[in-house]
Subunit: 313 residues, 2 copies
């Protein structure tokens, strides 16, 4: 069912520009997109961003919302070691929305897609009271580069690609109306998928996931799927000075941001001793045979707290 | 970004049951689904159903909502002449929703997927005030069976697969709180994709589309893409006696339902004279070289009205 083809929203020229990729037979304008496939592996992910839950119009520009919707999906594809290819955009918009807003939204999506060489091949538009954007992204990967959550092995070292805590710290700054901390705020508004890093390390890691829910839940996902446990070296978790300062200002714990905050979109990956020299990143823990997940800090080991994850607690 | 894996909603056993299809390497439980591809053509469609816009909980059982979300996407894949394969389900649900409701929703999806031999390979869940279900469905098709909107040729005959008007008549009955007309109501609550018909006729049609917006807009889509026009024989448009009776009761025009109502999910296809004997269905018009679309009734030709389409006018 097409409700309204996205081309019908006054943006038809931009949307229906001829796909560059010659494998795309039918982009926008039919009941479904059609593209040529080769023998190989395809990855497919979908995500739904809802106004109020994943973004607020007071905080994000429409272009930033558009950018974020693509980045978070690229992050999932990257975490598989795969290369993003085609995207479908399904939107529900309030009837009273400005054309300028929609224009900005597409602009943000287009630019981000262009950056990653992704083609928009389809989608649809309907209305709803709040903005809802559902993205479907395809990707391609060779079997030898495929990175699963289930591949971690006892003895693996756990790495993160970069500093954590920006996502939650940024959210909290906006929620509490605190100015300053520009880098943290920008990180929250404009998260970036770590595709380059993912593609570089994918042949050498045993498992990989992206940080959407926080380091602890991501490691838990890996451990559950790999049937193992982990020790997280709390003091080694990389947190920037600005995130630390923001946490102090907010009277909160920066390690809560990093461990349970989410929306950082950095990569978490586990690497065997033999491949240690082939990857970069911050070493933050170890995979264990013992199935529990614990936090190691100041010479003491403690069970990790079970904290739920919610975008707007 | 996974917000909550769908398995985490207490339904993990049902959702994560091992895929039957050996081409699926990774179903639910990683950042993205992974499946093997062959050399060929893949089709991909997505659709977002929003509570209040596409269904109401007072009218639909949760199983019916689940069924409808799958059927409307299968209908799009069928209209391409393709075979549906894999589905991703992305849901946003209110926090106060009953587990029984979600259970019914999945039940409806599962049963419908099973009917079409479709495998659920991924998805995610988040929350929102209203129920939002976004479906992504993949399909496969041989080049020779691919049916596009753009293939219609002057002289083609236009067919519909079955009676029209049920979708809109059913909606109007619910909106006005009118009882009876059980068949029409059921048609509205439980639309069925015409996959079998589509696969049977796909080698013999020049163009095809499914009726989600109403016969007239669908024919317009075909004409726009095929750079031609059409004459619709209004009196030949098949409308059941029950839809006629419902329209009379509502004081409305049954042809408005069929031509502009939508949500019938029947197929519209155009066939050259040579292939006429190879397809079934109801002949409702002709493709013309002249680019206008007109309605022929009682020996008179008139320009077709431009009516907008909106699920809940």
């Amino acid at each position: 069912m097409k409700v309204k083809d996205i081309g019908e929203f006054g943006l038809i020229d931009r949307i229906t520009k001829k796909p560059k990729d010659k494998d795309i037979l039918i982009g926008i304008g039919d009941d479904a997109a059609v593209f040529k496939t080769r023998k190989g592996l395809q990855v497919l992910t979908t995500d739904c961003l809802v106004e109020g839950d994943h973004f607020r119009r007071e905080w994000f520009s429409s272009a930033q919302i558009g950018m974020k919707t693509i980045e978070v999906n690229v992050s999932d594809i990257a975490a598989m070691g795969a290369i993003p290819k085609y995207v479908l955009v399904s939107m529900a918009l309030p009837n009273n929305i400005d054309v300028e807003f929609v224009d900005g939204l597409y602009e943000g999506m287009w630019k981000t897609c262009e950056k990653y060489n992704i083609e928009i091949i389809g989608g649809n538009m309907t209305h709803s009271e709040k903005i809802i954007i559902s993205i479907t992204l395809t990707g391609e990967v060779d079997n030898k580069n495929l990175c699963l959550r289930s591949g971690a092995k006892p003895g693996d070292f756990i790495f993160v690609s970069d500093h954590l805590g920006n996502g939650r710290a940024g959210l909290r700054l906006f929620q509490e109306g605190i100015d300053g901390f520009e880098k943290v705020r920008k990180h929250y508004l404009e998260p970036k998928a770590q595709l380059k890093t993912a593609l570089k390390i994918s042949p050498f890691v045993n498992s990989m996931i992206d940080v959407s829910d926080g380091l602890a839940p991501e490691i838990k996902h890996i451990c559950n799927q790999s049937k193992c446990g982990a020790i997280i070296y709390k003091d080694k978790v990389p947190i920037s000075d600005e995130v630390r300062a923001a946490a102090e200002k907010l009277g909160e714990d920066e390690y809560d941001y990093a461990l349970f905050g989410g929306e950082d979109f950095e990569l978490v990956y586990t690497v065997s001793k033999e491949n240690l020299e082939k990857v970069n990143g911050f070493l933050v823990g170890e995979i264990t045979k013992n199935k529990k997940i614990s936090l190691f800090s100041n010479g003491k080991e403690s069970a990790i707290e079970e904290k739920g994850y919610d975008h707007f607690f």
